[in-house]
């Protein structure tokens, strides 16, 4: 008993471990939530599917039920709570069931095929917009009140308030249709047919060719937010005593800008980073559907439209897990950058 208590105490003292356990807990909650939504909703998808099989293929109820159960990897005869445990067990083994639509395809292999494209496009755009946003935001904070500040701030605030899918549609309409600057038809999908994955120029070029419009959309729709947040964070950091003392100490301007202002001004942005991550990944459902960029968001949408429940469930889970993991990563990065958190655990 005492040993368990001591272990728990040690765990609770270690911030990183604490965050990790919290993430695992969140994943567990989401997993359970997904299971019970699917099983308990008024229009229970398994039941719908069984009915569908009966009416479309003339199966008996037993046959249909057996087929449905095998697709979900669930024994429907067991009590709900045991089904739940089975579901957890399967999940732990990496078994997310089988697609309704293309029979025989495992949900996990669908995820394996489509997830990388989303991670790639979202990751690249986040990197671009975060970096650019920080640089521009800090720049206009230093130039506050000037006309360049006024112009950039207004543009940023307009960009940050327009929903990202509307930006996507506008890009499609203007760049693709009205001005015909890009071949939007050819850009669909995530890779052109015939291009072999590998570390070749053709492959890399093709990857970027297909991902360019989603990336552009993500960047345009998020950069405004980064600029504004960084600007206000920089402004408040500039008002900190230690910046004034640094000036009194006669430190070089560059040293103050990067080590004193910059580094401290970025810290609060990491909290926004975690929220923004969920938002962008969530938004990929819309953006990828608009550009027909075949990532996990597009799969989610098409599985919803075709009522392919196992895929829907698996993909939703994986999206959530990736966001939680990315949050954990951002948290760890943050605790690396802020010694106050690293050591005391924020007390």
């Amino acid at each position: 008993m005492v040993r368990i208590y001591n272990t728990l105490k040690r765990i609770s003292k270690n911030v990183i471990l604490r965050r990790f356990i919290k993430s695992i807990f969140t994943i567990f909650v989401v997993v359970s939530l997904t299971f019970f939504i699917i099983r308990l909703m008024p229009s229970n998808p398994i039941q719908i599917y069984i009915n569908q099989l009966i009416s479309q293929y003339g199966m008996t109820y037993k046959e249909a039920e057996a087929l449905a159960a095998s697709l979900f990897s669930i024994d429907l005869k067991k009590p709900l709570i045991l089904q739940y445990f089975d579901f957890l067990k399967n999940l732990f083994r990496g078994d997310l069931g089988i697609s309704f639509l293309s029979r025989g395809t495992k949900v996990t292999s669908i995820i394996k095929e489509f997830l990388p494209w989303t991670l790639f496009s979202v990751g690249v755009s986040l990197l671009i917009s975060f970096t650019l946003g920080i640089i521009i935001g800090m720049f206009i904070a230093y130039k506050r009140g000037s006309s360049i500040d006024v112009i950039i701030t207004s543009i940023a605030s307009i960009l940050s308030s327009i929903p990202n899918y509307l930006i996507g549609i506008m890009i499609l309409v203007f760049v693709g249709v009205q001005w015909k600057l890009i071949p939007i038809e050819a850009m669909r999908g995530s890779l052109s047919p015939g291009v072999k994955p590998g570390f070749t120029w053709t492959f890399i070029k093709d990857v970027f060719f297909h991902a360019s419009m989603p990336i552009l959309t993500y960047v345009i729709s998020t950069i405004g937010g980064w600029i504004l947040t960084m600007k206000s964070s920089t402004l408040s950091t500039l008002g900190e005593d230690y910046v004034m003392v640094a000036k009194a100490r006669g430190l070089k301007e560059s040293r103050i800008t990067f080590s004193y202002v910059g580094r401290n001004a970025i810290l609060p942005l990491f909290t926004s980073l975690t929220i923004s991550l969920g938002f962008i990944v969530g938004g990929s459902v819309l953006i990828e559907s608009i550009f027909v960029y075949k990532g996990i968001g597009w799969v989610l949408w098409s599985s919803i439209s075709s009522r392919d429940y196992p895929v829907m469930q698996g993909v939703f889970l994986i999206i959530t897990v990736s966001v939680i993991m990315a949050n954990l990563l951002a948290d760890l990065l943050y605790s690396r950058l802020d010694p106050r958190i690293r050591i005391t655990g924020g007390e």
């Binding site: 969920g278 938002f279 939703f316």
Partner: protein, 295 residues
Amino acid sequence: MDKKIRKIHLILGSLRDTFRLLKRNKVGFAGFIILIFIILMSFIGPYIVPFDTTSRLDKIYVKPSWEHPLGTDSQGRDILAQIVHGGRDVLVVAFLTGFLSTLIAISLGSLSAFIGGRFDSMITSLADIVLTIPHFPLLSVLAAFVKLKNPLMIAFILALLSWPGLLRAVRAQVLSLKERDFIEAARALDLGTPYIVFSEILPNMMNYIVISFILSMTSAVYAQVGLILLGLVPLATHNWGVMINFAWTRGAIFYKHSIYYILSPIFAISLFQWSLVSFTRSLEEIFNPRLGQGA
């Protein structure tokens, strides 16, 4: 009697002050005016501008003219009329969502701050979890199970996801206000908990509440139109989202002459979102002058 009048004068004076401060921030003031305009257009406009739903095949995708200031759609119907008639649904859902999520956030947030202990950690953990789950995928999955027929239902589901942000703010505010000396003085004066909550704490949080209310309206617009766009909400009425969905699913996006039909709802939604956001920014500046640029 005299005192009542003086009190009214004081209130009027502070309203006038707020308005004056609002006018000082030009962008915020523009946002405010546009917001008022959009609200008036969406709620009173339909009584002034008629919407003729009959198809006019001779007038497909007509360019803007005096008769059709924004041109016509694929069935020859006036676009302007559709914009005027298509705002109400979007606004109602946004408003309801803002209202519901603010209600949840304020009640849970202040309870959490007042009760503390296990209850508090439970609520904050729950808020953390809801905040980490990506909302839009969850909404789309939910939409596959629940027929989102009426605005109240959509608003309710959106509100169930959007309270945690405001809850955190409310909780932090109540925690800090609770420790303020004037609250302690009110306790020492035995003014009673209801009085302390409703008359001392809540009015001091009004600015947070108003701002979060408006911000949750913007996220409601985002999610609602997004769901309509993907066709996950039954398309019963004409609204801005439905217009975009039609443009997208029926291929108008890829048709060169349909540009006014696509851009009109996009512009209307963007303008509405922008006016909400810039209005809140100027409110923030009024409530917290230190955020403003220079003294």
